[in-house]
Every structure is written in structure tokens, then in C-alpha cells.
């Protein structure tokens, strides 16, 4: 770990981490632009960087992207990222009362504390969890990937059928190309351009950036009166009274972040609701109550640390952003999972170290520059979108110096737009695309080891647990509805 910190403090890594965090904060603050989009757009640049620098840049973007959302959530009531939706509940009323600086100060402080506490879990649990995961064989990995995919699909917003369909569709789009097991073309339909399949970067940039820009271009720029912070951000010694709330929010955020598919917005919501239930003054929540901002911001930032745990120990993404990070590691010929701690410890520990330092940098950047960031957010977005589109085109082209990738990107932009129109979630689609090769490889290895005997899975307890959890995730909504109906019927009978 010490070596990782030493490497991180080399000037180029620190520079990339600062740039990444700064960019993340600005992008996170702009409603409509997300950390996933920024990470997908900067991935092509990391091709030419050494893996440690690449990882520090992306982790900085991730931390900044989630944290920056609080600026517009408090000042404009427009959360820059979905993770900051709950911050608007009390942050914006505080700004309306003339307490914008105080709300920003509390939000930033809670974000940093949330990040640092979840870093403790990340640093403490990851090596041990990775050692435990070394016991896993192909059956365990296959069922683990299946469980993560099913959870992500089922728990994503909207219909469960559409979530599962999106995951299957994403997996299907990953199939064309050379099948590495037999070295033969699969689903290429005679096209030589399809031999290398759909590249990860064009798919990510198309599905996230292009579809988002085409959608945003059709909607007028949201306007709102923003009261710019003018005074310094106030923080008091008496704020120590929030220590318990900060710890509670951070622990909730970390544990929710650990579960695939739930995300930072739900972490913030659960933390906020818990705080409200435990409060002696629940009626004050939603009216500009300081603990509301503390609960939401500590949890949403802490969820990043939680989500990084299954990513680096088992190679399982908790959300779209982690799926993109898996793609980034794969691009650098690194396989996230327990072996990462042995094969590339500088990356595994580098991610952990970068996460902590990114939180500290986020504090410094946001504390010092929040008023300037708020100004950038108000710039007209027409020019910004044009610039992003140019980056999309050049980024996709730069991967293989091929326009085929650019056309693929445009095609997936349309696919993303169509899926969004039909209310099919994009997250499971992209995660299915990323996890499909891993799932297939592990299933094939499992069946080879067991001579094609599927029942071999019954002798693998961990695999059975993962499979049972996947099944329970699919069946739970129906069971819960049935139980709810039975309880309501019971109450009605009692009433009569």
C-alpha cells in the first residue's frame, strides 16, 4: 500500500489525478453530463498512458463526477448527477434561505468524510476478500457474474422484463467476432469489418455520450436563477455534532455501494430516510435542515468506495461506471479480480490509494473553486455539446485509426436513443456487453472441467448461493406483491 502511495505521488500521476478530479467535478456539476460519460470519453486517451496514470485519471473523474453534482443540486435544485437528487431536498431550501455557502460547506465536508470512511472499508476489506475469492473456480465466477447481471437488470429503474432484456441484448452485441476458444469467426455474416467485433469504446461512447447529446439537443437548456456563493464556506467547531450522522451515512453508503445495481442515488435516499426516522425533529427534513444534506452527501460518496470493493476483488461491476472501469483495465491487459492483487499489485493498491487522494483533492478543489465551477455550469451548452461530439468522433477513431469504429459509435448512439425512448435501461445493456465474454469463458471452462455435466454445480456451495440469490432477486418482487396483497386482505378482514 505504501508503494502505491509513493507511486501516486509521482508528479505525473498526481497531475492526472488532479485533472481527473477537477474535470469530474465540472462535468458532475453540469446537469445532463455524467461521470460515466466523462470516463467513456477519456478512455481513448488512456490508451497511450501507463496503467497507473490511466487508473488515477479515471478514479479522479469518478470521485469528482459524483461529488460535483451537489453544486447545482444546492444552487439550482437541478442535481448534476442522479446521486445528488436527495441533496436538493434540504440543500436548495437552505440556499433559498440565504444559506447556500453553509449548505455547500456541509455537502463538501460530508462528501469527503463519506469518501474517507468508505476508503477505510475498501483498504481493509479488499485484500482479505481477494484472498477469499482465490478459492473461486469457473462455476463460482460464472454464477457470480450471472448474479451481478441479474441484480443489475432487475434493480435498474423501470420494468424488470426490460432490464433483463437489456442485459441479454448487451450480451448478444458482444458475441460477433473471432471466438477465441476455437479461433473461428462467429456471427460476422461474411463481413471482414466484423471480425474484431464491436469495440468496447465505440459502444460505450455511442450508448452514453451520443445518445445523451442527441437527447439533450432536443430539449431547451434548463434555466434557473442561481445565487452565486459569495462569502467563504463556513464550517464550525460545533459541526462535530454531526459525527454520528456522518459515520452512519457513510456506512450505509458503503454497504449499499457493495450491492450491484443499486447505486449512489439509492444510497443517499436510504441514508436520508434513516436519518429522518431517527431524528427528534423529522418535520424539519425537507425545509432546509442541515442533517439532510449531511446524510445524503456522506452516503452517495461512500457508495463509490463500496462499489470499488467487488470491482477490484472479484471483477464485478456495481454500476455502469464500474463496468467502464473494468473495460479500462481490460484495455490495458489487466483482468480485475482476485489475481489483480498478485499480477498487478500496483494497480490494485493504486486504485485504493487514488480513491483516498482523489477525495482529498476533491475537498481542496471544491472548497477553493466552487464559485468558479458554478459559473462554468451557466455557460451556454450548445458550444459544449459540439465540442463533446468532436471528442466522441476523434476518440473513437483514435482507438484503431479506423472510421468503422466511428460508424459503430454512431450506430450505438441510435441504439441507445431507441432503448431510452422505449424506456429500456441502458445500464444493464452496457454491463451485459462488458460481462458477456467473461460469463461465456467461465461457463465453457466450468463445463470442460465437469465433462459437460451441469449438475456439477450442486457440489459447489458458493455457486449455489450465487445462483439462489440471482433467482431470489428475480422472484422477490412477485413474492413481495403476493405477501403485501395477503397482508392487505388480512387487514380488511380485521376491519370488517
Amino acid at each position: 500500500m505504501l508503494d502505491a502511495f509513493t507511486a501516486l505521488f509521482e508528479w505525473q500521476n498526481l497531475l492526472f489525478l488532479t485533472i481527473g478530479t477537477g474535470l469530474g467535478i465540472v462535468v458532475g456539476a453540469i446537469p445532463g453530463l455524467t461521470a460515466s460519460m466523462l470516463i467513456a470519453l477519456t478512455l481513448p486517451l488512456t490508451f497511450h498512458m501507463d496503467p497507473v496514470s490511466a487508473v488515477t485519471l479515471l478514479i479522479g473523474e469518478y470521485v469528482g463526477g459524483i461529488s460535483g453534482g451537489l453544486i447545482t443540486a444546492i444552487l439550482l435544485r437541478m442535481p448534476g448527477t442522479p446521486a445528488s437528487i436527495v441533496t436538493t431536498f434540504d440543500g436548495y431550501p437552505m440556499a433559498q434561505k440565504g444559506l447556500a455557502e453553509r449548505a455547500l460547506a456541509l455537502g463538501i465536508m460530508a462528501s469527503v468524510v463519506g469518501g474517507i470512511i468508505s476508503w477505510g472499508f475498501l483498504a481493509g476489506m479488499s485484500p482479505a476478500l481477494a484472498r477469499f475469492a482465490l478459492q473461486f473456480g469457473p462455476w463460482e465466477y460464472f454464477t457470480l457474474v450471472l448474479m451481478a447481471l441479474v441484480m443489475l437488470a432487475v434493480l435498474s429503474q423501470g420494468s424488470m422484463i426490460k432490464g433483463l432484456m437489456a442485459a441479454a441484448l448487451g450480451m448478444a452485441f458482444a458475441l460477433p467476432g473471432i471466438d477465441s476458444s476455437i479461433g473461428q469467426a462467429r456471427l460476422t455474416f461474411g463481413s471482414s469489418a466484423m471480425l474484431s467485433g464491436f469495440g468496447l469504446l465505440p459502444v460505450l461512447i455511442g450508448a452514453f455520450a451520443i445518445s445523451q447529446i442527441l437527447r439533450d439537443a432536443a430539449t431547451p437548456q434548463a434555466s434557473g436563477k442561481m445565487d452565486m456563493p459569495t462569502a467563504r464556506l463556513p464550517i464550525y467547531r460545533s459541526d462535530i455534532r454531526y459525527a454520528g450522522k456522518l459515520i452512519r451515512g457513510s456506512v450505509i453508503g458503503t454497504w449499499i455501494g457493495l450491492l450491484p445495481g443499486i447505486g449512489a442515488n439509492i444510497a443517499a435516499l436510504v441514508s436520508y430516510s434513516t436519518e429522518k426516522q431517527l431524528s427528534k425533529e423529522p418535520e424539519k427534513f425537507g425545509t432546509g435542515h442541515e442533517p439532510g444534506v449531511v446524510a445524503a452527501e456522506s452516503a452517495n460518496n461512500a457508495s463509490i468506495g463500496g462499489a470499488l470493493i467487488p470491482l477490484i476483488t472479484m471483477g464485478i461491476p456495481g454500476s455502469v461506471t464500474e463496468a467502464i472501469l473494468i473495460g479500462a483495465l481490460t484495455i490495458h491487459n489487466l483482468q480485475p479480480g482476485p489475481l489483480l492483487f498478485q499480477s498487478a499489485p500496483e494497480i490494485a493498491y493504486g486504485i485504493i490509494a487514488a480513491y483516498l487522494v482523489a477525495n482529498v483533492l476533491m475537498l481542496m478543489l471544491m472548497w477553493g473553486a466552487v464559485r468558479y465551477i458554478a459559473r462554468i455550469v451557466q455557460l451556454p451548452r450548445s458550444g459544449l455539446m459540439a465540442v463533446i461530439l468532436v471528442f466522441c468522433v476523434t476518440g473513437s477513431y483514435a482507438v484503431n485509426s479506423s472510421f468503422v469504429d466511428v460508424w459503430v459509435m454512431i450506430g450505438f448512439g441510435l441504439v441507445g436513443l431507441g432503448l431510452e425512448y422505449c424506456r429500456v435501461p441502458l445500464g444493464p445493456f452496457v454491463i451485459g456487453f462488458v460481462l458477456s465474454p467473461i460469463a461465456e469463458e467461465q461457463l465453457r471452462a466450468s463445463l470442460m472441467m465437469s465433462d459437460g455435466n451441469l449438475m456439477e454445480i450442486t457440489s459447489r456451495p458458493y455457486a449455489l448461493v450465487f445462483l439462489a440469490l440471482a433467482l431470489a432477486t428475480v422472484l422477490w418482487p412477485y413474492i413481495a406483491a403476493r405477501l403485501g396483497a395477503r397482508a392487505r386482505a388480512g387487514h380488511a378482514k380485521d376491519a370488517t
Binding site: 422484463i161 450480451m171 455539446m385
Partner: protein, 157 residues
């Protein structure tokens, strides 16, 4: 149009497209050789996914029809969205990539024109904006082409 009806039509179109995609998976899988060195073979996953996609598509259609029959109707919230602006940006993007790919036109001027066109398609159409977007486009394209050619040895356009 009412939301339930529009959503059902969108779901049915989605189900048809997904089923067509599943059909392609089956056609492609049929061309693959049977497994020789391992039990699963490379055609298995396309077939499994094809079957799953058709299953989900059928569920989607049934659910949509049930929703229509039950008469779940909610008025669509009024939206200020203007799809023509999105379409204009898309056309500009396709024309830009086509100019670079098929036309082999130089990157800097084409990018400058693209930034102006996209900026005006989304933002206010004023001469001041034309000048701003031209400056942004020129600066951006020069910076990108310098980085690509000098440092990454990549030529575009």
C-alpha cells in the same frame, strides 16, 4: 396521444426488432460448427440469448396488450423538447463523419464547420454565435490534430 397506447406501440416495435435480432442470432449460430473440443461450443450462447430475447419480447407484448385492455391511461406530460434539433445534430454528425471518411476532407476546416453547424442547430442563430463557434471549432480542431499527429502519430481526415 395517451401514454399507455404510445408505450404499447413502442413496446411492440421493440419486441419485433428484438425478435428480428434473435432471429439473426439463430441464423448465425446455425452456420457454426458443432462443438469438438469442449462440451458447449460457440453456437450455444447465441442460441441461449436468442431464446431469452424472444421470451422477453413475448412477455413485453403480452404485458402491453394487458395494459391496453385494462385501460391504464395517463395523459403525457407536456414537453418542451423539439426533436428536430436532435435530428439536425444527428444529420450534422453523419455528414461530418462522411466528409472525413468518404470525402477525405481535411480535419481542421471540416471540424470548424461542424462545430458551427451543431452550435447553431442547438443554440441561438446569431452572427455573434457564428463567430464564437468558428473560434471554438478552429482552436479545438487545431489542438486535437496537433495532439493526434505530433504525439500519437495518428492522422485523421
Amino acid at each position: 396521444m395517451r401514454d399507455a397506447r404510445r408505450q404499447t406501440i413502442a413496446d411492440i416495435i421493440l419486441a419485433l426488432l428484438v425478435s428480428a435480432g434473435a432471429g439473426l442470432l439463430f441464423i448465425g449460430a446455425a452456420e457454426l460448427p458443432p462443438p469438438r473440443f469442449e462440451p458447449l461450443g460457440s453456437a450455444a450462447l447465441p442460441r441461449i440469448l436468442g431464446a431469452l430475447l424472444i421470451f422477453f419480447a413475448v412477455l413485453l407484448v403480452i404485458r402491453g396488450l394487458l395494459r391496453l385492455r385494462a385501460g391504464h391511461v395517463t395523459e403525457v406530460a407536456r414537453s418542451d423538447a423539439d426533436p428536430r434539433r436532435g435530428a439536425l445534430v444527428f444529420v450534422a454528425l453523419v455528414a461530418y463523419v462522411a466528409a472525413l471518411d468518404f470525402g477525405r476532407l481535411p480535419f481542421v476546416p471540416v471540424t470548424t464547420v461542424f462545430v458551427i453547424a451543431t452550435g447553431l442547430a442547438i443554440g441561438a442563430r446569431t452572427w455573434a454565435n457564428v463567430a464564437v463557434f468558428a473560434g471554438v471549432g478552429l482552436g479545438l480542431s487545431l489542438a486535437i490534430s496537433t495532439i493526434l499527429e505530433r504525439f500519437l502519430y495518428i492522422t485523421i481526415g
